[in-house]
Structure formats: C-alpha cells, structure tokens
C-alpha cells in the first residue's frame, strides 16, 4: 500500500485534519508547486517518476528522522507522481509543533532531505520542443566519498 506517494492530486485539508493536535501552537506547511518557467525555459509538460519501494521507505524514514531531530509533534510528507500541470502541488510537508521555531526548522529539514534522498525524477518538456530530466542530487552511497555532485542529460 502506497502511503506517501500518490498519482492523485495532493490535498492539504485531509492532512491538516489528520494532524490536528491540541498540544500544538504552530503549523508549518511546505508545498512544492510546478513552475511555468525553469531556468528561463517555458515548461509545457511535467512528469515525475518514482522507484516506489524505496521512495515509500525513505519518505517514512524522513518523517521519523524529522520527529526525532526536532521538538515537533507531527510530520507528514506526501509526494505526487505522474503527469502534473503548472501550479499543481508536487510535494507537501506538514509539521505541527508546540512552538514555531522548531516547526519551521523541521519543515525545512524535511523538504531538503526529500529533495536529496528520495528516488523520484522530474522530467520536463519545454515550449521549444526539447525535454530533459532535471538536474538532480546523487543518492548517498555510504561507502563512497563523492557526494553532492549533479548530473543531467540534455
């Protein structure tokens, strides 16, 4: 059962309801949305593909790690895949905490980690007819020393 990755529209309201907590004074939501322009090029179509078995596991682990690192009460992450349109939400992070500092830091950590560790790939088709997988972050391979480099096919 896929819990964190979906090919349906991401809806905020169910996540807000699901995470309600009377201990919490702070809610921080991050949403990633599809932009019309990327690096100055007009985007006409966008697709996210996923290696689901590992993506599900990583998203669940990132939620747990975020809860462990910060003084927060809830952390939920959802990522959409498949064909998206301009303005659509591609990813949502919802954090609730007693206080706002931890909520902001945790949401920032969670989305940064999603972008670095979850096997999902963004493919864009441009108005000039070209297309490309967007430059990405190599998944960390614990035994290797090189990290942080990027590669892309044009």
């Amino acid at each position: 059962m896929l819990q964190h990755v979906t090919d349906q529209s991401l809806e905020l309201d169910p996540l807000l309801t699901q995470t309600e907590s009377e201990e919490c004074g702070a809610l921080v939501v991050f949403g990633g949305t599809v932009r019309l322009y990327n690096d100055g090029r007009k985007v006409t179509d966008i697709n996210y593909s996923v290696y689901a078995p590992l993506a599900e596991k990583m998203l669940s682990e990132i939620e747990q790690e975020t809860l462990r690192r910060f003084d927060i009460v809830r952390c939920e992450i959802r990522h959409r895949v498949g064909d998206l349109e301009i303005g659509d939400l591609s990813v949502v992070v919802v954090v609730r905490a007693a206080h706002r500092a931890a909520a902001f830091e945790a949401a920032r950590y969670a989305i940064d980690t999603v972008k670095h560790q979850v096997p999902i790939w963004k493919y864009e088709v441009y108005a000039d007819g070209s297309s490309a997988y967007v430059k990405g972050c190599p998944l960390h391979n614990e035994n290797e020393t090189e990290t942080g480099q990027e590669a892309a096919a044009e």
């Binding site: 078995p53 972008k115 190599p138 990027e150």
Partner: protein, 90 residues
C-alpha cells in the same frame, strides 16, 4: 528463467530517470561472466551494452528491493538491480 546457460548468466536491471532515457526503456537484462555477480559486474555489463550510459553510472546509486546496495554486493539469478541516477523530486 529459461534452462539455457546464457539466461542463467543474466541479471535483470531496472533503469530510472535519465538512465531509462539513455537505455531506451526501464527494464533490460545484462549478461555477466558468472553468478553470483557483483553490482560492479552488472554495471560494467550495462556500460558495454549501452556505452552512453557509462558516464552516468558513477553518480548512480543501486538498490535491490528497498535496500541501497554497494558496488560489491552480490546478485543471484532472479535478482533485479535497480539503477537510481541523481534524484530530482520535491
């Protein structure tokens, strides 16, 4: 699995992201000299079959199921090696 020796010395490979594009499809089979084979053996076999893929392999992580594996991990007949080039979710 067929009974002939050639397919017994093949490992299934699943390619994602730019590697799916470069390899012309998500799934393929790569021949290796013998089994079990290491991840490095399978990557070398893929680079031989698809030379354009070679430059992406250094920054490609590999997985079996939901586990990231190292270059010296071993694959048996029936295993599938999943190739995960740099990710761009979010």
């Amino acid at each position: 699995m067929s009974a002939d020796g050639a397919s017994d010395r093949q490992i299934g490979v699943e390619c994602y992201g730019v590697l799916q594009q470069v390899c012309g499809g998500r799934e393929r089979r790569v021949s290796v000299a013998g089994l079990p084979a290491t991840v490095a053996d399978v990557l070398e076999g893929l680079a031989r079959d698809v030379p354009d893929a070679r430059r992406y392999l250094q920054h490609t992580a590999c997985a079996i199921g939901d586990r990231i594996v190292q270059r010296d991990a071993r694959l048996e007949a029936g295993d599938t090696l999943v190739l995960l080039p740099p990710v761009s979710g979010g």
